[in-house]
C-alpha cells in the first residue's frame, strides 16, 4: 500500500512541474508583455509613456531577466505562496485568490456530492431494470442532461425562478456567517445546475458499469446460489461497478471546474471563476498565471485522491 502511495505521489510532482512550465511558456508567447498592459496598451512612443517608463516597469516586474531565471523566480515564489502582484487590483495575487476560494470550493464540492447522490441511484435503477420504461426514462434524462450546456440551463433556471418565485439573484453576495438564509438561496440554484450535468454523466456511466458487471460469472454464481437480486446488486454488482465510476468521475471534475466560470458569471457569485474571467479580460497576467496554475493543481490533486481511494478500495491495484 505505502509503496503504491509513494510512487503515485512522486509522479504527481513532475506533472505539476510540467503544468507550471506549460503555463509559463504559454504566457510568454503572448504578443507584447505585461509592462505594456500596465502602461496602457499601445506601442512605445505612441502611447503616453516613454521607452524609459517601459524599461522601468519591466525591471520592476523582473521581465528584463533571462526567461529561465524568470521561471525559477516564479516557481520559487509559488513555493512560498507568493504569486506576485495583481496588475488590476495592485494587491498581492495570493490574497485576492484566498478571498474567493471558499465560495468556489463550496460550489464544486456540493455539486460533486449532489451529482453523485442523484446520478448513482438513477444509473443503478436503469441497469437493474434494463429495457423497461424506468430504464428508458433514466437514459433519456442522462442524454439530455449531457447535451444541455450548463450556462443555458443556468439561464433557464434564472428565468424560471423570476417567473414563478419572484427571485432574482441579488448583486451582493452574503457568506454563510453573514446571512445563512441568503447564502443558501444564492448557492442552491448554481449547485443544482452544476450537479445536473454531473449527475447525467454519473448515471450514464454507472448504468454501463453495472450492466457490464452483471454479465460476470461471479454474479451468475451469486444468483444461482439463490441470493435475492437485491443482495446480488448491492453486495456483488455495485461494489465492483463503483470503481471505474469513481475514476472517470475524477476526470469529469475538469468539466465542473470549467463550468464554475460560466455559472459564477450567470449567478453573479464572486468566486475563482469570476476572478479568472476578469483577469483574462483585463489581461492581468500574474493573476491569470496563478489562477490557471491553481485550478490545474486542484484538478490534478482531486485525481490523485481518486487514485489513492481506488487503490484503497481495490487490492489488485495495491499489489500489482
Amino acid at each position: 500500500m505505502s509503496h503504491y502511495v509513494i510512487r503515485r505521489l512522486l509522479l504527481f510532482v513532475p506533472t505539476l512541474i510540467g503544468v507550471s512550465l506549460a503555463i509559463f511558456i504559454i504566457m510568454r508567447v503572448i504578443p507584447g508583455d505585461p509592462a505594456t498592459v500596465i502602461l496602457g496598451g499601445s506601442d512605445a512612443g505612441t502611447g503616453g509613456y516613454t521607452k524609459q517608463d517601459l524599461q522601468h516597469v519591466r525591471e520592476q516586474l523582473g521581465l528584463d531577466r533571462p526567461i529561465p531565471v524568470q521561471y525559477l523566480l516564479w516557481v520559487g515564489g509559488v513555493l512560498k505562496l507568493d504569486f506576485g502582484t495583481s496588475i488590476r487590483y495592485s494587491s498581492p495575487v495570493g490574497t485576492e485568490i484566498l478571498h474567493r476560494v471558499p465560495l468556489t470550493f463550496e460550489l464544486t464540492a456540493l455539486s460533486l456530492v449532489a451529482g453523485l447522490a442523484a446520478g448513482l441511484p438513477i444509473g443503478m435503477m436503469s441497469a437493474a431494470h434494463q429495457n423497461t420504461r424506468l430504464d428508458y426514462t433514466g437514459r433519456v434524462l442522462s442524454s439530455v442532461g449531457l447535451a444541455v450546456p450548463n450556462f443555458w440551463l443556468g439561464t433557464l433556471v434564472i428565468v424560471a425562478l423570476a417567473r414563478w418565485f419572484d427571485w432574482v439573484p441579488p448583486l451582493g453576495y452574503a457568506t454563510i456567517t453573514e446571512d445563512p438564509q441568503q447564502h443558501i438561496q444564492q448557492i442552491l440554484p448554481p449547485v443544482l445546475v452544476l450537479g445536473c450535468g454531473f449527475a447525467a454523466f454519473v448515471a450514464r456511466l454507472s448504468r454501463a458499469q453495472v450492466l457490464e458487471v452483471l454479465r460476470e460469472d461471479y454474479v451468475r454464481t451469486a444468483f444461482s446460489k439463490g441470493l435475492r437480486s437485491k443482495t446480488v446488486m448491492v453486495r456483488h454488482a455495485l461494489k465492483n461497478a463503483l470503481l471505474p465510476v469513481l475514476t472517470l468521475s475524477g476526470l469529469h471534475v475538469g468539466v465542473l471546474l470549467g463550468g464554475v466560470v460560466t455559472i459564477e458569471l450567470i449567478f453573479s457569485l464572486p468566486g475563482l471563476g469570476r476572478l479568472l474571467l476578469d483577469a483574462l479580460t483585463y489581461r492581468d497576467y500574474p493573476l491569470i498565471q496563478a489562477l490557471v496554475f491553481l485550478l490545474a493543481a486542484e484538478f490534478l490533486g482531486i485525481n490523485l485522491l481518486v487514485d489513492l481511494a481506488y487503490s484503497w478500495l481495490d487490492p489488485r491495484i495495491r499489489y500489482a
Binding site: 513532475p14 506533472t15 510540467g18 503544468v19 512550465l21 506549460a22 503555463i23 504559454i26 504566457m27 508567447v29 503572448i30 504578443p31 442524454s143 439530455v144 449531457l146 447535451a147 444541455v148 450546456p149 450556462f151 443555458w152 439561464t155 433557464l156 434564472i158 428565468v159 423570476a162 432574482v168 450492466l211 457490464e212 454479465r215 471534475v253 475538469g254 468539466v255 471546474l257 470549467g258 463550468g259 466560470v261 460560466t262 458569471l265 450567470i266 479568472l276 474571467l277 483574462l280 479580460t281 489581461r283 491569470i288 490557471v292 485550478l295 490545474a296 484538478f299 490534478l300
Partner: protein, 303 residues
C-alpha cells in the same frame, strides 16, 4: 486459411455469384438504420442542421446583422417567429446563421485536432523509448488543465478569431486521442501480422502506416464522434463568455451571453431559443456518437 502447405486438394472458396447476392449495399444500410433507430434519427437531424447551415442565406427571413429600426425586443410573432433582440435583429435568422459557426468549428476541430494527434500517438506508441517519454509528459501536462480553462488561456494568448478558436479547441482535444492511439498501438504492434510484415522486410514507416494505423482506427472514430458535442459546448462557452469568436459574427454561444443575460427577465426569448438549438444539436451528435460506438466496438455489441 485452413490450408496446410502439403495438401493437394484445396478446399474451394465459397463463390458468391452476383445474381445470388440477396443484399445490396443500400439494403444493408437500410437494415443497419432500422436496427439503430435513435442513431438514424440523430443522423437525419444532423443532416438537416448541415443543410440549414449551407442554405442559411436563402432560409433566413432577415439579414442577421441588420437592426430593424423600431423592432427591438419584440416577442415571438408572425413577423419575427422567434422574436428580436435588443438591437432589433431577427433571432431566427441569427440562429440559422449561427449553425454555420458551430458546424464549421466541429468539423475543423475533428480534422485539425485528430490527424496530427493520430501521427503523434502512432509515433509515441511505435517508437517507445525517449520519444514516447517526451510526448507522454507533454500530453500529461496538457491534460492536467480543465478543458474550458485551457481553451480560455489559449484564446487570450492567440487573440479572438475563428481560426484561433479552432486551434485552441484542437489543442484541448488532442491529448485524449494521442493517449488512446498510443495504447492501441502498443497492443496492435505485438500481433502476428505485424511480425509477419516485418519478416517480409517491411520498414518501420511502411509497417506503421499500412498495418498498424488501419487497425487502430476504430477507437479513434469512436473518440472523435463522441467529442463532437463536447467541442461545440466548449466553443459556445467561449462565445458565451465573450472570449471566443469575434462579437460581430452571430453564434449560438454569443447570442446567449452578454446582452441576452442583461435582458433575460424582460426578453427571455433572446436566451431561450439559441440554447434550444444548441442543446438539440449536441444531443443529436452525442446520440450518433453512441450509435457509432455500438456498431464499431464488437465488445459492446454483444450486450
Amino acid at each position: 486459411m485452413a490450408l496446410s502447405a502439403g495438401s493437394e486438394r484445396a478446399i474451394p472458396l465459397p463463390v458468391i455469384e452476383p445474381g445470388l447476392r440477396t443484399t445490396s449495399r443500400a439494403a444493408r444500410l437500410w437494415r443497419l438504420a432500422c436496427r439503430n433507430p435513435l442513431g438514424s434519427v440523430s443522423l437525419a437531424c444532423l443532416i438537416l442542421i448541415a443543410l440549414v447551415a449551407i442554405f442559411a442565406p436563402w432560409l433566413s427571413p432577415y439579414d442577421p446583422e441588420r437592426s430593424i429600426t423600431g423592432a427591438a425586443l419584440h416577442p415571438p410573432s408572425a413577423l419575427h417567429w422567434l422574436g428580436t433582440d435588443n438591437l432589433g435583429r431577427d433571432i431566427l435568422s441569427r440562429i440559422l446563421y449561427g449553425s454555420r459557426i458551430s458546424l464549421l468549428i466541429a468539423i475543423s476541430v475533428s480534422i485539425l485536432g485528430t490527424v496530427p494527434a493520430i501521427f503523434i500517438g502512432l509515433l509515441s506508441g511505435y517508437c517507445a523509448g525517449n520519444v514516447d517519454l517526451v510526448i507522454q509528459r507533454f500530453v500529461d501536462s496538457l491534460s492536467a488543465f480543465p478543458g474550458l480553462i485551457l481553451a480560455l488561456l489559449f484564446m487570450v494568448v492567440f487573440g479572438q478569431s475563428v481560426g484561433n478558436v479552432i486551434i485552441s479547441l484542437s489543442l484541448v482535444n488532442s491529448p485524449r486521442i494521442i493517449r488512446t492511439l498510443r495504447s492501441v498501438v502498443l497492443s496492435v504492434k505485438e500481433r502476428d501480422y505485424i511480425l509477419a510484415s516485418r519478416t517480409m522486410g517491411a520498414r518501420g514507416a511502411r509497417v506503421m502506416l499500412l498495418h498498424v494505423l488501419p487497425n487502430c482506427m476504430a477507437p479513434v472514430i469512436i473518440l472523435v464522434s463522441a467529442s463532437f458535442g463536447a467541442v461545440i459546448i466548449i466553443e459556445s462557452s467561449l462565445d458565451f463568455l465573450g472570449l471566443g469568436i469575434p462579437p460581430n459574427v452571430p453564434t449560438w454561444g454569443s447570442m446567449l451571453g452578454g446582452d441576452a443575460q442583461k435582458y433575460v427577465q424582460t426578453a427571455p426569448w433572446m436566451a431561450v431559443f439559441p440554447g434550444l438549438f444548441l442543446s438539440a444539436t449536441v444531443l443529436a451528435m452525442n446520440l450518433l456518437g453512441d450509435t457509432l460506438r455500438d456498431i464499431l466496438d464488437p465488445r459492446l455489441r454483444a450486450g
